[in-house]
């Protein structure tokens, strides 16, 4: 890209010609406030927070969308700019329910931060405040339009990135609001509950349905044996809630914290990830050997599963019947573990800490009650766990490390850990499938072709004399594009991994929320994935089928992968759902 020379606040800089003023200013270390801007997702110049003066331009311009050009002179800090930004902010605040103290985004709100940073001490233009009913009927997501500032980051995420599009702007003028068709609840639409809208929201208009109260109640109930499991992606993000740098691994502190919160057992979902690989891998081998339906598609992302049920019901038979790891774990806990420990499964309360909001929905699915009880009783997001840790007044950063509880092993395998990043399930599966099929131990276990943040990744893996064609898609827009190819017969993969959230679980809808500004500077997907792969490399066992506790489970209880007991406890089925 050709460089252009511009001046910002009198300072000459040279930037690529396709930059916006905002990008140029940030390169020069000059901050410009933004609100509706979400890099690569929502660049619409709607909120008018990023106003700057450009010499010769009529009125003020929005830095987030205004392209630079040669010789341009920009001023970001004039009296006119300051007053205009403050007026815009005050107007935004004048129609915002300012119950900041009791807001789920208190202290992590972009609007609140701006009000502080722009020195707003009074709102000169008070007036009518829009009143909206809160939609809390979805098991995963709450929408509170009273907090909404109409930045539309959620819409762009849902529509453009995820191609789900269940929410959009409706009405116009002051009555404009974000909502579902005919004011329906999210729960009555084809929302996949991925929660990416929550991650996009700068304020408290979107948040997960609370499960902390239910979990505290279970913990307080003496008759309950409360077991918690944590997904791989949680450990590489939880630290952010306590001010630790993005990409910090806090596995040990997390285990300690969970014990201190009073959980009777602290398990690692990674174990169940290994179990998933055994089941799913066996299923794949079965399809390869016996000529089953291809491509086989992973089913551990509940947002993706729901998306498939609504949009690609013709491909439901392609989905692996394996339950998602935490559900498998729940089923094992309420059967094998209950039996082994002599606890009545009705007294066991399984809590999953997940980077995901769709898991809340998933845990309520009727099909996932193979033991006669729900496999999982409550799902907490990473954010909710952080809130509980804070509520319990634990000084997280200073907590010592500890391991997970037996009988399922104190440490995970690398294969289980990498489930948290896009391509991870595929890689874990390949590590096992290749060895099972060839009967040989492979040294090269890092499948780099399926790693990384590219939207759709493809590879052909040679296993013995077999060329296995695989593909990985993350983000439902990418998934849709890939599946259209499958549907049309254009693509002939054996195995596809799909994760609903762009980046996979590390950037799931239940993960700590970073501001648009941070996200513009740091690619969360890559930063958190790096921690995942570091963790993988740090573990002595990196293949699921080598996990001794998995072997133990099959020996003592399940028999063989995809066997009778597995089918009852670890596999499920899917239902076609209406789109309209």
């Amino acid at each position: 890209m050709e460089m252009v020379n511009i001046k910002i606040n009198g300072e000459a800089i040279s930037v690529p010609g396709d930059y916006t003023i905002l990008q140029a200013a940030r390169q020069a270390g000059i901050d410009i406030p933004t609100l509706c801007y979400l890099k690569g997702v929502n660049e619409i110049g709607a909120c008018r927070m990023c106003l700057v003066e450009v010499k010769g331009a009529r009125g003020l311009v929005t830095a987030c969308v205004y392209p630079v050009n040669e010789g341009m002179e920009v001023f970001t800090n004039t009296e006119k700019v300051r007053i205009a930004r403050k007026t815009v902010l005050e107007l935004t605040l004048s129609n915002h329910e300012r119950k900041c103290l009791t807001c789920p985004r208190n202290q992590n709100c972009e609007l609140q931060r701006l009000a502080d940073e722009l020195n707003v001490t009074d709102i000169a233009f008070e007036g009518e405040i829009s009143k909206h009913e809160i939609d809390d009927m979805s098991p995963s997501i709450v929408r509170d339009n009273n907090k909404c500032i109409l930045c539309r980051r959620c819409i762009s995420t849902c529509k453009k990135i995820q191609t789900v599009g269940v929410i959009d702007a409706q009405g116009r003028g002051f009555a404009t609001k974000i909502g579902c068709t005919f004011d329906k609840s999210l729960n009555d639409t084809d929302c996949v509950m991925c929660g990416q809208c929550i991650a996009a929201c700068p304020v408290g208009a979107l948040y997960e349905k609370d499960s902390t109260k239910a979990v505290w109640a279970a913990l307080a109930d003496e008759t309950k044996h409360v077991v918690v499991q944590t997904a791989p992606a949680v450990r590489v993000a939880l630290g952010e809630e306590f001010g630790m740098p993005i990409g910090t691994r806090v596995t040990g502190k997390m285990a300690t914290a969970l014990k201190k919160l009073g959980f009777d057992k602290v398990f690692d979902t990674d174990f169940a990830a290994d179990l998933t690989i055994m089941e799913e891998g066996t299923e794949l081998i079965g399809r390869i050997k016996e000529g089953g339906k291809f491509p086989m598609i992973t089913s551990c992302s509940p947002g993706w599963v729901k998306f498939c049920e609504h949009n690609f019901p013709d491909l439901l038979d392609n989905l692996s019947t394996a339950k998602s790891p935490h559900e498998m774990y729940g089923a094992i806990i309420k059967s094998y573990y209950a039996e082994k420990e002599g606890i009545d499964p009705k007294d066991i309360f399984v809590v999953s800490v997940m980077p995901c909001t769709a898991k809340k929905f998933e845990s309520q699915r009727e099909e996932l009650k193979g033991t006669g009880y729900p496999d999982v009783d409550a799902v907490l997001t990473t954010r909710e766990l952080a809130k509980m840790i804070k509520e319990a007044r634990l000084d997280f950063v200073k907590l010592p490390d500890s391991g997970f509880d037996n009988p399922f092993g104190e440490a995970a395998t690398g294969a289980g850990v990498i489930f948290g990043a896009t391509g991870g399930v595929m890689e874990a599966a390949l590590r096992t499938v290749s060895e099972v099929l060839t009967g040989k131990s492979c040294d090269e276990i890092e499948y780099k072709a399926v790693r990384g943040i590219e939207g759709i990744k493809e590879a052909t893996v040679t296993i013995g004399d077999l060329d296995v064609k695989v593909a990985v898609a993350h983000g439902l827009g990418n998934a849709r594009a890939l599946l259209e190819k499958v549907r049309s017969g254009e693509a002939d993969y054996h195995f596809i991994e799909i994760m609903a959230c762009p980046g996979g679980c590390v950037t799931g809808g239940g993960q700590p929320i970073q501001s648009a500004k941070v996200k513009a500077e740091i690619d969360l997907k890559a930063a958190r994935a790096k921690a995942i792969y570091d963790e993988d490399r740090s573990l002595p066992i990196r293949k699921s089928h080598e996990n001794p506790f998995i072997k133990m489970l099959y020996d003592e209880f399940l028999g063989e992968p995809c066997g009778h007991k597995s089918h009852k406890l670890l596999h499920t089925h899917y239902v076609k759902r209406d789109k309209y």
């Binding site: 619409i44 110049g45 709607a46 106003l51 007026t87 109409l150």
Partner: protein, 631 residues
């Protein structure tokens, strides 16, 4: 049609027929060419006259003419708007040019018998201004038309808009022929640039420059030309009239524009509220296609052009160019930030030229008569004419086209015929919800783009609403703001919330609850919105408030400090009182009061109970002695 000579043949065949009704060519051709037609009855089929029943009048004429056996000699022609809507329905009979106004169905028989059969003009039905000392004046000498110069409206009220051959007869499609066969696109653009034509829809950007930018943009995947006929400015209806009266002029101009910028597809975005215009436009497009004037290889050249209509669905903001394009694309009509400008990335991200109807209506004349001719009309920086929709408290409501530089006084007092009921001129509002008010003190202003901007108003699309002493300027500001608040798309914060806050303040003021700080707050907000809103609608929304504050601050202060509405409009500030000196005790007021608030004894002064009074104003309008006041 394959070439220009075929076009010429049609023109020549039909020319004399149409000339019969063209003033300066109507040297009374009693019998024209081979046809026996000796008279034309032109009946206005514009929306205004149609609303007052002109369709029935056409039928009645046809029946009566047939009944009198003169159907071969006298033709009834439904035309577009004559402009003088206040006097509709209008009927003009040629070759005399007899201008019958406010014609009723019952009048038709007399006109047919007396005028068309007997050859005697029915004077008592004529527009009174056209009768002088027993003789009929030419329309061009009548005050309403005298100072007008009709370029954009030239064919409105002259030709039958549903007959392409009538358009061809008056040199229609000659400009397109000329452009395609003897000019390069660069020459066309140069001519338009040279003419000084500026956009008639709003900000007044140079049309030629716009064409040039679009022509220069790379358009490997196609370009578009669009016509903005989403005339949303309340009180402006020139675009509608042009499309109703002369649709081919727009089609021809768009084809010329398409040739100049290198486009092959056009869209006309028109309000669905204009059914007559839509229908005529569709007829015109179909006819143009049939005659080979739209479609492939026009006039046998390489140039191809298709044109489609897209209907708006009731959103004022779609008059904003980026919103219009978003709407054509099938979305909520929300504006998007510029740059990129439509000339580079417009419809479906392709280079797009967008002009409004009136702008296009000037193009064929510029091509036919040359830039020099066009430049000779108007002021230094505003060339040509401008059409205004004259409305409000003025006698001759209607459509007028005046050379740029005409004074407001000429428009109001001469063309408009002054204010009815001996009321005083207070202000004129131009530019609709984006514009401002011109106070009486500035009535001698010469109207053009720049003079209006200078005094805090703008040309806008050309609504010109006249206000008299009974108009409250705070109420008018509130009216326009209500409009903007209603029509704000809701995308950007300053417009969505800011205009609402301004309206809330104005509402307080008109209810007597305003404070002097509110006036400051209004100004701060207005300035903020102007500099920070996303699109033209938001950026200009505060103008009606700013301009009334500028020229009529006293009136605001009266509302705020004295809690009075000097014009007697704001209900909450009115108190109806009976002047005991003037009241004769007739009791009419008490009889008409819907809530029984007035009591008294006949022949003694009556009294209004303010606790019961709902301030409907009926008593005041009924009092024969003007004894009731409300201020």
């Amino acid at each position: 049609m394959k070439n220009l000579s075929e076009l010429g043949l049609i023109r020549d065949k039909k020319k004399d027929y149409v000339n019969l009704r063209i003033e300066d060519k109507a040297e009374a051709k009693a019998s024209v060419g081979e046809s026996k037609v000796r008279a034309h009855v032109l009946v206005c089929g514009g929306t205004g006259c149609t609303s007052s029943g002109s369709q029935k009048i056409i039928h009645e004429f046809e029946n009566q003419i047939a009944a009198n056996g003169i159907a071969e000699e006298v033709k009834v022609i439904k035309t577009g708007c004559f402009g003088l809507c206040a006097l509709g329905p209008i009927v003009v009979v040629y070759p005399e040019g007899a201008f019958y106004s406010m014609v009723k169905v019952e009048d038709v028989e007399e006109i047919v018998k007396e005028h068309l059969v007997g050859g005697r003009v029915v004077k008592h039905l004529l527009y009174d201004e056209t009768v002088e000392n027993d003789s009929i004046k030419s329309l061009n000498e009548v005050n309403f038309y005298k100072k007008q110069r009709r370029i954009a409206l030239r064919n409105c009220g002259v030709i039958n808009p549903e007959d392409i051959e009538e358009y061809i007869a008056i040199d229609g499609y000659q400009a397109l022929g000329k452009v395609l066969t003897s000019m390069t696109p660069e020459q066309v653009i140069e001519e338009v640039k040279e003419s000084g034509l500026r956009g008639r829809g709003g900000a007044g950007f140079s049309t030629g420059m716009k064409w040039m930018f679009t022509a220069r943009a790379s358009g490997e995947n196609g370009k578009y030309v669009c016509c903005n006929a989403d005339e949303g400015d309340p009180g402006a209806f020139m675009d509608r009239s042009i499309l109703e009266g002369d649709p081919h002029a727009i089609i021809e101009a768009m084809a010329i524009a398409a040739y100049a910028v290198g486009a092959d597809q056009g869209y006309i975005y028109i309000r669905a509220e204009y059914p007559i215009a839509v229908k005529r436009l569709q007829i015109a497009i179909d006819q143009a296609k049939e005659y080979g004037l739209l479609g492939s290889n026009i006039f046998g050249t390489d140039f191809s052009f298709n044109l489609d209509i897209r209907l708006g669905a009731g959103a004022f903001v779609c008059g904003e160019e980026t919103a219009l394009m978003t709407s054509i694309e099938g979305h909520r009509g929300e504006p998007r930030p510029r740059p990129p400008f439509p000339a580079n990335k417009g419809l479906w991200q392709k280079p797009t030229l967008l002009n409004n109807v009136e702008t296009y209506a000037n193009i064929t004349q510029i091509i036919n008569n040359g830039a020099e001719w066009f430049k000779s009309i108007g002021t230094e920086k505003s060339k040509g004419t401008k059409v205004f929709a004259l409305g409000g408290k003025i006698k001759n409501t209607g459509l007028v086209e005046i050379p740029m530089g005409t004074t407001l006084r000429e428009i109001v007092e001469e063309i408009g015929g002054g204010i009815p009921n001996n009321k005083k001129f207070k202000a004129a509002q131009t530019g609709g919800p984006s514009g401002g008010c011109i106070p009486a003190s500035l009535i001698d202003i010469e109207i053009d783009y720049d003079s209006l901007i200078q005094i805090g108003s703008m040309m806008g699309s050309g609504g010109l609403i006249v206000m008299d002493e009974d108009t409250c300027m705070v109420d008018i500001a509130k009216f326009f703001l209500e409009f903007t608040v209603d029509e704000s798309c809701g995308k950007c914060t300053p417009c969505r919330v800011g205009t609402k806050r301004m309206l809330e303040i104005l509402d307080r003021i008109t209810k007597g609850k305003g404070t002097l700080e509110d006036l400051d707050r209004l100004e701060t907000l207005a300035d903020g919105i102007k500099s920070s809103a996303l699109c033209g609608l938001g950026q200009t929304a505060p103008n009606p408030v700013l301009s009334t504050l500028r020229y009529f601050r006293d009136e605001y202060v009266a509302h705020v400090v004295d809690k009075k509405c000097p014009a007697g409009v704001c209900k909450d500030l009115l108190s109806y009182k009976i002047d005991v000196g003037k009241c004769k005790g007739c009791g009419i007021c008490a009889k008409n009061c819907p809530v029984g608030a007035i009591s008294g004894q006949v022949k003694n002064p009556y009294h209004i109970d303010p606790a019961v009074c709902v301030k409907c104003g009926v008593c005041m309008s009924k009092c024969p002695f003007k004894a009731i006041s409300n201020k």
